[in-house]
């Protein structure tokens, strides 16, 4: 008997489809619920991922870049004595690895003194011509201009620092610091630009000048303390790893941004965690909703199942009917949900979602007011698989109960 060897007999599928069509309203409601749940999750992930990407990109673009290379221990304790001993070898390694987006820096702590008062600052000497390769810092200048090639003792301050020092464009500022031997050095700079980013980390405690001027002031001609790199997000870890292998004998630290500022990564993980929680809640709702549908539909058809068994349907086939019903609802609902979710993401990715009304200008941490939702295949896959398995799971209990039915009782009581 060939029919007993098939896993799902076509006639069982036919009954399932007839049943889904026969109860069209219930079927559509269930499918809609699954689709809406999935679509909203996909969209939420898209929004979330878009926001994170935007934030991370802005965060790296602000000043730190993607990867920084210093002498071992410099990031923890930035001292001039920990300068990069062989920068040309690092740059050579970058060039051979086809990583063109790098820029050199010399960093030290210093005091900025105006005619009125004094502020402690992180003084960074950067290559004006190369900085655009690694950050978008130039775009953050709200007042005046960014560093230019050929700049001498020009200085850029954050808005808060400038305000504290009560200085304006064109004003002289004396910078006092120590050279790498501990001797006091001082030089007069001219304020040429003010950073008005709205980010605390940039607007306060930062002083930028040209690499050449700072090298001259510190008597460190040709010396730097670090190299900043900008790389694509998806290659970040791989590049950091291969560089640190390549440069192993130079006693360097190759630090991706996430290592320098783990709190940002943690914040994103935490934020994703909330979304996982949300996925869980939606899953629960989907399971409960579909279970309810299938359960009611099973109770309603108790007599039908009794009759079906009486006329020669195997219990296995009865169970299959309910599982198949659950699977069909899940698959159709998921397909619609995927289409809807991705559609909404693609649409909003183009137009962007303007949150400037919701986000106060003060509270945003490197986040643009207009979010462009992004499709992340990992999150999409995870969510779709969860919803699909949830909807299959919802079929198991009703199927199990239907399989346990005694035909005579089912016919009598159904």
């Amino acid at each position: 008997m060939s029919h007993t060897q098939r896993i799902v007999e076509p006639v069982i599928v036919a009954v399932v489809i007839s049943n889904l069509i026969g109860h069209l309203r219930r079927t559509l409601l269930t499918i809609t619920a699954i689709a809406a749940g999935l679509a909203s999750l996909i969209f939420l992930w898209g929004f979330n991922d878009g926001l994170h990407r935007n934030m991370l990109s802005n965060f790296q673009d602000a000043i730190i870049g993607s990867i920084q290379i210093h002498r071992q221990g410099f990031f923890e304790h930035p001292r001039l004595s920990l300068y990069l001993s062989a920068p040309e070898r690092v740059i050579e390694a970058l060039e051979t690895a086809r990583l063109p987006h790098w820029s050199r820096r010399l960093e030290t702590f210093a005091l900025a003194t105006s005619e009125k008062t004094t502020e402690g600052v992180m003084l960074i000497g950067m290559e004006a011509e190369r900085e655009a390769q690694v950050t978008q810092l130039a775009q953050r200048i709200g007042n005046g201009r960014f560093l230019q090639a050929g700049d001498d003792y020009s200085l850029i301050l954050g808005a808060t620092t400038a305000k504290n020092l009560r200085v304006d464009l064109g004003d002289p500022i004396v910078i006092v610091g120590y050279d790498r031997f501990g001797a006091l050095v001082a030089e007069e700079f001219t304020l040429v630009g003010i950073i008005t980013s709205g980010e605390m980390g940039l607007d306060r405690g930062m002083a930028l000048t040209s690499l050449r001027a700072l090298q001259e002031m510190l008597d460190m001609s040709g010396q730097i303390t670090g190299i900043v790199l900008r790389v694509a997000d998806d290659r970040l870890d791989e590049i950091a790893e291969s560089l640190s292998l390549k440069l192993a004998e130079l006693d360097l630290e190759v630090m991706p941004w996430s290592e320098m500022f783990p709190v940002v990564q943690e914040w994103i993980t935490l934020h994703n965690g909330f979304l996982y929680l949300f996925v869980g809640i939606v899953l629960f709702i989907v399971i409960a909703g579909e279970l309810n549908t299938l359960w009611l539909s099973m109770l309603e058809r108790t007599r039908d199942f009794g009759i079906l068994m009486a006329i020669g349907t195997a219990r296995r086939q009865i169970g299959l009917m309910l599982l198949l019903e659950a699977a069909l609802l899940g698959v159709i609902g998921s397909l619609l949900g995927i289409l809807l979710g991705i559609g909404v993401i693609l649409l909003t990715n183009q137009t962007g979602i303007d949150l400037s009304v919701l986000l106060g200008s003060t509270s945003r941490f490197y986040v643009d007011p207009v979010i462009h939702p992004q499709l992340n295949l990992d999150h999409l896959g995870m969510t779709v698989i969860s919803i699909l398995s949830a909807s299959l799971l919802a079929g198991i209990y009703p199927a199990w109960r239907a399989v346990k039915l005694q035909p005579v009782e089912a016919i009598r009581n159904g």
């Binding site: 007999e9 068994m309 005579v408 016919i411």
Partner: protein, 266 residues
């Protein structure tokens, strides 16, 4: 073939069945012995609670028994595994229940075709067989209707068509007329009898209905789980006028047409 007519197709030996509700026993069948012969049209009579349904369900391998032996079509059904019982119900038995026999989401034709497809026949062949049997029960035109678009009598006739569509050895019908009005019930009885006359199938029907009893070639009466009376060929041959089927001498299709023509809504 006289030999086949007297051959026993259902043989029940010392069959007992007791239901338990908690610790209280409800005896349903008590040492029942009976023999049903091939191609019989046997009616199981008896008061409510006398054990008719229980007996039919056991014979149809829908229910288990406590003690005894039931041999149906040379198969000892009480010894069967669950899968064997399912196959037995599919291949050997055709069931007709009191009411609501049909799957609501399937059309009349699909309801009948379903069992053929379970038997492994193709969709097309099954639908053809279903159409044939719907024709035989006088519902040739109504195959595309769903059960809720059919009257109670029509639904029962679809159930009869389904019971026969698998070409079973035995049709078991548990009070098939109980939910019908008198006239409709009579017509269904006529139909059952004619189908029995035309096809080589054994019918075992439980009923209170005097019309059904009159149609039978044998009558078995149950009381409190015992067989108390048995008429083997003792009944006078069914009186066609009494059955309101004054058409017994016509061919089946002629009779069916007569019976249902101009009254498809009954």
């Amino acid at each position: 073939m006289d030999t086949t007519i007297t051959q026993s197709i259902i043989s029940v030996r010392d069959l007992s069945k007791c239901y338990w509700i908690g610790k209280v026993p409800f005896p349903a069948l008590n040492r029942v012995n009976l023999e049903i012969y091939d191609n019989d049209f046997t009616v199981l009579a008896g008061r409510s609670g006398s054990g008719k349904s229980t007996l039919l369900n056991i014979v149809g391998a829908l229910e288990s028994a406590d003690t005894g032996e039931v041999v149906v079509d040379n198969q000892n059904i009480l010894q069967m595994s669950a899968d064997q019982r399912t196959q037995f119900r599919l291949q050997t038995i055709g069931f007709v229940f009191q009411a609501y026999n049909l799957i609501q989401v399937l059309t009349a034709q699909e309801n009948v075709a379903y069992v053929c497809r379970l038997q492994g026949k193709s969709k097309l062949e099954s639908l053809e067989i279903a159409a044939h049997w719907l024709d035989a029960v006088g519902l040739g035109e109504l195959g595309s209707r769903r059960p809720n678009q059919l009257s109670g009598g029509q639904q029962q006739r679809v159930a009869v068509a389904r019971a026969l569509a698998t070409n079973p050895k035995i049709v078991l019908a548990d009070e098939p007329t109980a939910n019908l009005d008198t006239v409709t019930a009579q017509k269904l009885v006529c139909l059952l009898q004619k189908l029995h006359d035309d096809f080589n199938t054994t019918f075992l029907i439980s009923s209170h209905d005097p019309d059904v009893k009159n149609a039978s070639s044998r009558l078995i009466k149950l009381s409190d789980g015992h067989v108390i009376k048995r008429w083997d060929e003792a009944l006078p041959p069914a009186d066609p006028t009494q059955l309101s089927c004054p058409i017994k001498n016509l061919s089946l299709s002629q009779r069916l047409r007569r019976l249902f023509e101009g009254n498809p809504a009954q």
